[in-house]
Symmetry: D2
Amino acid sequence: MNHGYDFPRQIQFANQEEKQEFSKFPTKTGRRSLSRSISQSSTDSYSSAASYTDSSDDETSPREKTQVNSKGSSDFCVKNIKQAEFGRREIEIAEQDMSALISLRKRAQGEKPLAGAKVVGCTHITAQTAVLIETLVALGAQCRWTACNIYSTQNEVAAALAESGVSVFAWKGESEDDFWWCIDRCVNVEGWQANMILDDGGDLTHWVYKKYPSVFKKVRGIVEESVTGVHRLYQLSKAGKLCVPAMNVNDSVTKQKFDNLYCCRESILDGLKRTTDVMFGGKQVVVCGYGEVGKGCCSALKALGAIVCVTEIDPICALQACMDGFKVVKLNEVVRQMDMVITCTGNKNVVTREYLDRMKNGCIVCNMGHSNTEIDVASLRTPELTWERVRSQVDHVIWPDGKRVILLAEGRLLNLSCSTVPSFVLSITATTQALALIELYNAPEGRYKQDVYLLPKKMDEYVASLHLPNFDAHLTELSDEQAKYMGLNKNGPFKPNYYRY
Amino acid sequence: MNHGYDFPRQIQFANQEEKQEFSKFPTKTGRRSLSRSISQSSTDSYSSAASYTDSSDDETSPREKTQVNSKGSSDFCVKNIKQAEFGRREIEIAEQDMSALISLRKRAQGEKPLAGAKVVGCTHITAQTAVLIETLVALGAQCRWTACNIYSTQNEVAAALAESGVSVFAWKGESEDDFWWCIDRCVNVEGWQANMILDDGGDLTHWVYKKYPSVFKKVRGIVEESVTGVHRLYQLSKAGKLCVPAMNVNDSVTKQKFDNLYCCRESILDGLKRTTDVMFGGKQVVVCGYGEVGKGCCSALKALGAIVCVTEIDPICALQACMDGFKVVKLNEVVRQMDMVITCTGNKNVVTREYLDRMKNGCIVCNMGHSNTEIDVASLRTPELTWERVRSQVDHVIWPDGKRVILLAEGRLLNLSCSTVPSFVLSITATTQALALIELYNAPEGRYKQDVYLLPKKMDEYVASLHLPNFDAHLTELSDEQAKYMGLNKNGPFKPNYYRY
Amino acid sequence: MNHGYDFPRQIQFANQEEKQEFSKFPTKTGRRSLSRSISQSSTDSYSSAASYTDSSDDETSPREKTQVNSKGSSDFCVKNIKQAEFGRREIEIAEQDMSALISLRKRAQGEKPLAGAKVVGCTHITAQTAVLIETLVALGAQCRWTACNIYSTQNEVAAALAESGVSVFAWKGESEDDFWWCIDRCVNVEGWQANMILDDGGDLTHWVYKKYPSVFKKVRGIVEESVTGVHRLYQLSKAGKLCVPAMNVNDSVTKQKFDNLYCCRESILDGLKRTTDVMFGGKQVVVCGYGEVGKGCCSALKALGAIVCVTEIDPICALQACMDGFKVVKLNEVVRQMDMVITCTGNKNVVTREYLDRMKNGCIVCNMGHSNTEIDVASLRTPELTWERVRSQVDHVIWPDGKRVILLAEGRLLNLSCSTVPSFVLSITATTQALALIELYNAPEGRYKQDVYLLPKKMDEYVASLHLPNFDAHLTELSDEQAKYMGLNKNGPFKPNYYRY
Amino acid sequence: MNHGYDFPRQIQFANQEEKQEFSKFPTKTGRRSLSRSISQSSTDSYSSAASYTDSSDDETSPREKTQVNSKGSSDFCVKNIKQAEFGRREIEIAEQDMSALISLRKRAQGEKPLAGAKVVGCTHITAQTAVLIETLVALGAQCRWTACNIYSTQNEVAAALAESGVSVFAWKGESEDDFWWCIDRCVNVEGWQANMILDDGGDLTHWVYKKYPSVFKKVRGIVEESVTGVHRLYQLSKAGKLCVPAMNVNDSVTKQKFDNLYCCRESILDGLKRTTDVMFGGKQVVVCGYGEVGKGCCSALKALGAIVCVTEIDPICALQACMDGFKVVKLNEVVRQMDMVITCTGNKNVVTREYLDRMKNGCIVCNMGHSNTEIDVASLRTPELTWERVRSQVDHVIWPDGKRVILLAEGRLLNLSCSTVPSFVLSITATTQALALIELYNAPEGRYKQDVYLLPKKMDEYVASLHLPNFDAHLTELSDEQAKYMGLNKNGPFKPNYYRY
């Protein structure tokens, strides 16, 4: 199959190593899963999908079916429109944990701040993103949507969206050809031209940029959520080719803290328990990397009685680890004694075969950090080692002397593969996306130029404030006198841009 | 065979309420599951069984099959002897986490302290208990074994035991009739008479006591693990009918701490995550009861950022809660604000309909304490409330105004139903059982009378010491001078009986 | 009167070592300070006394002065009756933290449960014990009081008690002769014969026993608070010479937990900060002993970012340390790396010269456990080592190569010497003493025999319940149905005697 | 010399309120202590000075004495040159905790990076700053020094510096006139012209700027540590009058974290204990403000068993408080129940009379945040309230109904007034200052313009790395391959400027 142009591959593979790794994967999986694994925040679908009762009996491709929703529309393509009712219930359950979006609907509904907005979106399609999409609709937008990942679509949810009138093109298990076909169907419509892009990964953005340059030029703004997508936007901007303002919502304070520190604090425990049933008390653990993810992992494991030490390359983070009560070591000093080795560095080959050879029998190895590069899993695929799959996502790698190392998720992200992302964290992300759309769509001429922007701090604060009711948290207001004393506006922003929360 | 006699029922139902509850259950389940739910420590099998690939296609009753193991013996009855190989691997994996038993095999193997012992056992039949049984064999015992629960047998493990020569009578999904038939087959053998009993629940003990009184009188000792079984033994003893020394291993210090404080500290998080994917940070939680289980739950939830308060009836435990940083409240003062209500009291009707009516939308309710009595689930089965099962073990109970309360495991034990028990905790229990058997079998005449005994503190300490190598923990030894100063034997016991660990 | 007899010495020195150590101390200090150091709970006076403005100019012995209080009585002997007003304010401030006693006054005042009681007491004389004494008076008792320690009396408080009518005989800086003279003045009065003894250390009890045997026989009960005193009572009882029921209040659950776990959790930090201003974050600390005191120390230090490991002789406590996240080591494995070495064993020579020689420069060594035996301080008094006192309670011991070890309180108890005991902890103790007096005084004939008793659990619970209002803690009451289900009286006791809190 | 000019006052008083408050203070104290209270990091001297044996008998002003050191120099002015030996020992003890500076001396001594530097400095004069000064000398600098605070000078240390050849002009208890006289003596010297300024508060900088503009213009760089001083520099820069590059070391990452989060985590406990002996367990505490200081206070108090809630104005910080397990409330909702109220906002009038009126008896109120503005202490100086000083820094404010509120340090900073700053924290600051001096002095032409700069991240990392040996922390090094993958230099900097540690 020839999509004619090949630009995304050149951009998407950060370096030669990734490209080589890619080529080892069976073609059926395609490049999507590889590229998406870089985005920690967009990974909820894998595990929660497990609870779905998707009948996989029907092997007909959705592209070959004709389906009509109850209002007579057929401007969508999903697995099975009849699953809409089940999907609707899932959306309703998700709404309960995403009250910030519901409250945004209420606050902004009167004025319809997205009236006239024509949003084309490309994200995971799950109950939680459905709540986002339906919020955009409630605020006045017209939406067309497709999936950013060929595996993560919850078919029932896609059906429910289609039934409610959103033009959605997505199903679980798309081929690469399907993937681009779906994107194209979103953009390429008679009599409808997108003026806003909401993207997660950058594929939609590039499709529009390359295939429909005239549409691209008239877009008012792009909202991008993922590390990869943001990286691609900065590259475009650097190359002077970004003719549209774009908002990097990945690096908002609120989202960062929730995606990394708070979410990983819980998912490290969850992922380890679900895969290994290990008892944490008394276990000796080394956590490689003491950034936000490492801080979250260390805090949780220590709290449950593990004895945790840390490796770091950055002396400031190392000093923080000391002050937080974690011994800072080199991996080679401790690897023989450890019961668990957890990587959170964002780097590659942190755990090499040399270290794996020295681990003790029963040692658990997993990756919480980045892609699938941190543990050198390839080095374990040698003839003298036996791999034994003992559970889904759990392999025993067995040395000739009988030693077993327990490798989780084949070195891919544990939190992506073996635990779930709470709806509350997804609510933070989705609210941030919605606000960024509203901001870009309504910003007066000139506020944003053809560049990549961070979310204004005041909007970051607004996202946070919309989530406080979940905790019955009551904010204090500055008096006039206090605001003056502090030199602050009573409504924020409350901190300088360089403030470290 | 006529099981028509009814003595166990009279003893087993502690009170009228339980009897009534029993009668509501479908007869197929039978009384076993009800009575067993009282024992926290013997519940591992439920969830870990999930990973087994038991082919349930074969509907023939094992009692009607003829099977022979590779050595030509057919003195067993299991689902399918051909599953032995798979079961053997499971046992080997379990052995890795139960090194205390392996080390006991090594230390005691030379002297064969159980040479001549004829042990009849009735426990869950899982990979972990298989490690125990094979340890007893390694120490010189002959063993015949049956299951204490009609659902919990891991068929592959039973097959592996049968293949290795243990006379095991057990399969998953026995009828009540099967259950007693299996027990009888263990005891009633030509030319073999049990002289030790290892029981979990007391059914085997009672069967021998009632049906084979002459065997019972010649037994050297009984080792009983469960709360229920211990209760029945104390009653027998009180009634002057216990003609055999019995060891209550349920109340050993080590086992208690691990079953309650340390295990629940982890399983509360695990059980909640697996069922609800809830985020703990910022959640308002009330824990009813601040005993060991409550202490474990509170400590874990607080550590992950929940805001926890406690209810208590005992002022000493209440004061401990205060000093540990938990507000002590009455349930009615806080129930409207809570995101989760967790019971750990051992009491009944702690959460009544009155409280359930006042909970907020989305409140999670679960039981970590005792049986299924703490939450008045029966009160929720009224016409105006709708039950919606959203996942296995998770029901939404919906009020007329749309409010949903999320009830886990229908009010049964969360840790039993929705999380696993780590092998390490089971190792503590199994080692305690093995040592108790050795002690009773080898005790000189007169050390134990016809009564129920707690494990001697020195053996409790020995169980602990066998598990220290798992943590690479190095014990300090008293010098002669120090031992004299403290008035202690250098080998323990180190504490008086009334010491509060 | 002849103070020449020596019976207390024979009893008080537990063994030969203590006796030898005693003889090294200057005679001026006398044996009192040595013997008292064993009792952790009775040591508040040292540091809090520091805030007093005692004019030490007046060198006249109180025994040679004639003083009269405002009501014309001179049946007392204190430093200076004119200090009464200052002392009264101190007592009033203490009352604010001891609301349990005030509430006891209110609850029991109507019925005067101590009407007719003639209590002779020997305790530290501080604002807090004054609140106790005045509570006894409010409940109907007549009291005569003396000090159990020659240094700890707060003169102003003694004056206030004398002014209010209590016959108190005590001042700061008594000689040993003064000490016994004061005790005798309490007991030996025309027309007044004690019928209750409240003792802290056992000296008063022994004086009465030896000097006034006829009084001793008619005493209704003895309440003893200290480890030493309790030990002496058990010896008397064992020897068949205890003709009076005695209550061991030292080992009540509530008092034990507060004196050890909760109090040490705070005093370890306080003692270290006040003496050394050390920063805890990142410090490597070994805590010797993981009993209640060790648990408190470890918990606090870990919480503030120290990296803590533990030594233990008892495998059960060692296993607890593991599960709580502390590596269990031998001292010789880690001593070179440590920043602090803290002893909490109750043993002797835990830190020997051998270990001190291997400590690194700047290592802090202190004792939280027992007496002054845990660190072998004597071994440091050798010619090649230089001692440099850098602050009160802080010595630098300097090795020939310049290495400095920082020794706190010369190896005596840090919490006794360098931190304070909160009034709240003293309130627990005082309330326990008051209730024990009431119980013994009012017990029906035959409830208590000539033996040493632990406080009944129900009264232990009552002490706890009287302190709950301090925390605004609300206890839940059992319903009738629940009490029946649990087999409990609704008013307690709620736990069996062997319960481990 | 005319001290009559008033420029510093115009700059230093941020607003009219401060000016008014100032006028209430006795003139002897002068404006210095007021202005200095704003700088948290420079406050060590107060409490540690307590251990000094300063003979205050000699009332002669140092300005009127003639003193000569052992080398014959008299180019200094201190209280008493004979105290030099005592001061030298203090410096040696401080060196033990400041090994980063010692190691800097070693690493840089060969190349003398400050050869030719003529540094005029104005800081607190304590053992710790003496270590800094002597490090600068060891690196090649010539130093003249004066005190930034009229009270904080440790006379013995000043003597030791003078004895060793540093021209120091400072003593404890200077008048305002003395203060400026000392500064002038540092700057105004025949044949010596400063080319570097190290300042703490900005007074020295302004003196040079105003009085010696020709010197000012030739200075190569200014290093400023305090909030106040930095504020003044930014104002100068904004006004276009800063003709010299200046380094703001106050806002370096390492210093900020240590001064605020880590230091306050310990000093909140220390300050409260030393003043009130309060028990933390079970206490209800509200912390106003959840910035770094608030985070440190909350974490420590929670760890010791207090029940902590938080007030916030910033929704992002409020959300962090929720996720960390602290209920976010408004002060008026909880103030009646609190045992302690702690301010950490940096704002004014956070605790007003209205709230103070509603506090319960015994409530402790203190300020950890900023200056003396947070608690409206002035509102308590009304006739109906009685003030009773019960200890140094502790006042009971008594309401007509007898209610007592316990006010610490009269609302000034608790950590400044009632606890100490560990040498380790001061070492971080001093090392940062030394490196900033080296950087500015050696920077190639053009690297720094006439502006205020933050410490380059790489130097921030270097400060951290110099302190890692204190914790025996071992940093991991990037491999070439890893550095390339991450796009980092192997020697750092390791993080982008916007990174939030």
